[in-house]
């Protein structure tokens, strides 16, 4: 296999053996990027020059868990001195004066930044079609979307444009694109990874995580980015285990919950068949499937689109054209605000800001925001109840494989409904992973979602790794 196709662990082995330098790895990666970026459009910014500098430094130092490993970063994670746009006109020329905690930790580990990846503007969307710049294409079928909002990161990993990537997940934005692009996407427990330097969308739901070629690679990256951070008061002061340790352990006797509410009429037949076959495979590995119920599943989308938009309307109030970012002219300050935000934000961001503003406005607050917070409690309790009898929960990641560019773009509600299986996990703050579990007849990847208890990424990784290693789905690469 060519160097650009290798994941983190494989590449580390190759580099450690000697004979291949980090610069040669980068040559392979950028040759690949130059060949396919125009078709896939995974990157908003390429950092070629910086990358060779970082590779040279890594080659000289040699140490570090990620020395010389080329990684892509979603463009809503601040990188000091490197443009961070959120795929928005509002931040098109924004150059962060500070480093996010996660990329700071990757720097300490010797990583090489390949570039910043495309997303739905401010991470609001499920397809990257809401990017203000362009739509990223699915490497398995260029007429289809890669999923979102971390679509650029997932497409880049899938197409061999980097060894791994970071994404962010507010309602499925790591897991859904990973599923649709045939790679692994891990959303850690809320609070496991510092959000310092992640441009805020919905602060009680946002979480950074890895998108990788294997489950083991996701564990390697989580080892580096996880942990308490004084700069994020919602990062949990919890001990950090070695997340790679459970990769390789058996899953005999593990009880796997299958929520009946997730296997609904209307779900794509091929997706359902692939996920049920994956459950059979877990059973063959010694796990015990158990039917569980998550009775408030049907209310998750409505709850999410109240809470996430309310938090967004507050978080995005900072984009007023005063301190940083885009500013439009106006005759006075109010008109400057109004014009800046009208011209700087795209339609989906405006829609969500208005929905959130409405839900928080006087006279509607109790009926919408207040009620949604209560239903969030019910959804969280559903999982607590289910985890009394099972160790892990298995579901599809997405109800369908990748859809066509433009297919859902005109109907926001239809787009929202495509997040139906991932959203509850953010509301409950649980860790979840998507691993490849098959393909449709049209050769489009399907993902299996595994959900764990709070701060039990170890079980998630253990089960996901055992499944992955007993199948060969993760070894397939798109023909580009």
């Amino acid at each position: 296999m060519e160097l650009h196709q290798l994941g983190v662990e494989e590449l580390k082995n190759v580099l450690d053996k000697g004979g291949v330098s980090p610069a040669e790895v980068l040559d392979s990666v950028f040759k690949r990027i130059d060949a396919i970026q125009e078709k896939v459009k995974a990157f908003v910014t390429l950092t070629r020059e910086q990358a060779y500098g970082m590779a040279a430094a890594a080659g000289a130092r040699g140490a570090g868990a990620l020395a010389g490993i080329p990684i892509a970063i979603k463009d809503n994670i601040c990188t000091k001195g490197i443009r961070t746009t959120c795929s928005s006109r509002m931040l098109e020329n924004f150059v962060p004066p500070y480093e996010s905690t996660v990329t700071g930790r990757l720097l300490e580990a010797g990583y090489v930044l390949v570039g910043k990846t495309n997303l739905d503007e401010f991470a609001m969307g499920s397809s990257t079609e809401n990017s203000a710049f362009f739509t990223t294409r699915n490497p398995w079928d260029l007429d289809r979307i890669p999923g979102g909002s971390s679509g650029g990161s997932a497409a880049a990993v899938s197409a061999g444009m980097c060894a791994a990537a970071l994404g962010s997940d507010t309602g499925g934005s790591i897991r859904q694109p990973a599923s649709l692009c045939g790679v692994v996407g891990l959303k850690p427990t809320y609070g496991r990874v510092s959000r310092h330097g992640l441009v805020a969308f919905a602060s009680s739901l946002d979480q950074i995580g890895p998108i990788t070629k294997t489950v083991k690679d996701a564990a390697i990256l989580l080892n580096i980015i996880a942990g308490h951070d004084a700069a994020d008061s919602t990062s949990a002061p919890m001990p950090i285990p070695d997340f790679t340790r459970p990769a390789g352990m058996d899953i005999k006797g593990f009880r796997v919950g299958i929520p009946k509410e997730y296997f609904i009429p209307g779900m794509d037949r091929e997706v359902e068949a692939a996920v049920l076959a994956a459950v059979k495979q877990l059973e063959a590995l010694g796990a015990i499937p158990v039917e569980v119920s998550l009775p408030h599943t049907a209310y998750a989308i409505a709850t999410y689109y109240i809470l996430a938009t309310s938090e967004a309307s507050s978080n995005l109030a900072r984009y007023d054209g005063v301190k940083y970012g885009f500013r439009a002219g106006g005759k006075d300050l109010l008109e400057t605000y109004m014009n800046t935000r009208a011209q700087g934000f795209g339609p989906e961001v405006k829609r969500r800001i208005m929905l959130g503003t409405y839900a928080l406005s006087s006279g509607y607050y109790e009926a919408y925001y207040g009620r949604a917070q209560q239903v969030r409690t019910l959804i969280k309790k559903d999982f607590e109840e289910a985890f009394k009898s099972v160790d892990i929960i298995a579901t599809p990641t997405s109800p369908t494989a990748a859809f066509k560019v433009g297919e859902k773009a005109a109907d926001p509600l239809q787009m929202y409904l495509s997040d139906i299986f991932t959203i509850s996990i953010n509301l409950a703050g649980l860790p979840g992973i998507s691993v490849p579990c098959g393909f449709t007849r049209e050769e489009l990847p399907i993902g299996l979602q595994l959900i764990g208890r709070h701060f039990d990424e170890e079980t998630v990784i253990r089960v996901a790794h055992a499944y992955e290693q007993s199948t060969d789905w993760h070894g397939r690469r798109p023909k580009l």
Partner: protein, 94 residues
């Protein structure tokens, strides 16, 4: 149902200038989304407490110590209109 007047009111609160076309579009789309959200009213939530976030931590405290902060030039590096170490905005008072 979200009427045009409602959209204009929300847009004002959100500091968003909208075109007439946008007002019509958002009136339709927000109505459809809110119709779906009405679903939450089916549930009896009388004895259910709210969840604002899922962690079992609150009131995170730290020592009140001074530490180096961003230099002024860096902090103003992305400002559209800086002057003399300040952010400059259009006149507010006539």
């Amino acid at each position: 149902m979200i009427e045009s007047a409602d959209v204009l009111k929300i847009a004002g609160l959100s500091r968003l200038a909208l075109t007439e076309e946008e007002v019509k579009l958002y009136s339709n789309q927000l109505s459809a989304i809110l119709q779906h959200i009405e679903k939450l009213k089916e549930l009896d939530t009388r004895d259910v407490g709210p969840t604002s976030h899922v962690l079992d931590i609150r009131n995170v405290m730290r020592e009140d110590l001074t530490a180096p902060s961003l230099p002024v030039d860096d902090a103003l590096g992305n400002c559209p209109d800086p002057k003399g170490g300040f952010y400059r905005v259009p006149r507010i008072i006539e």
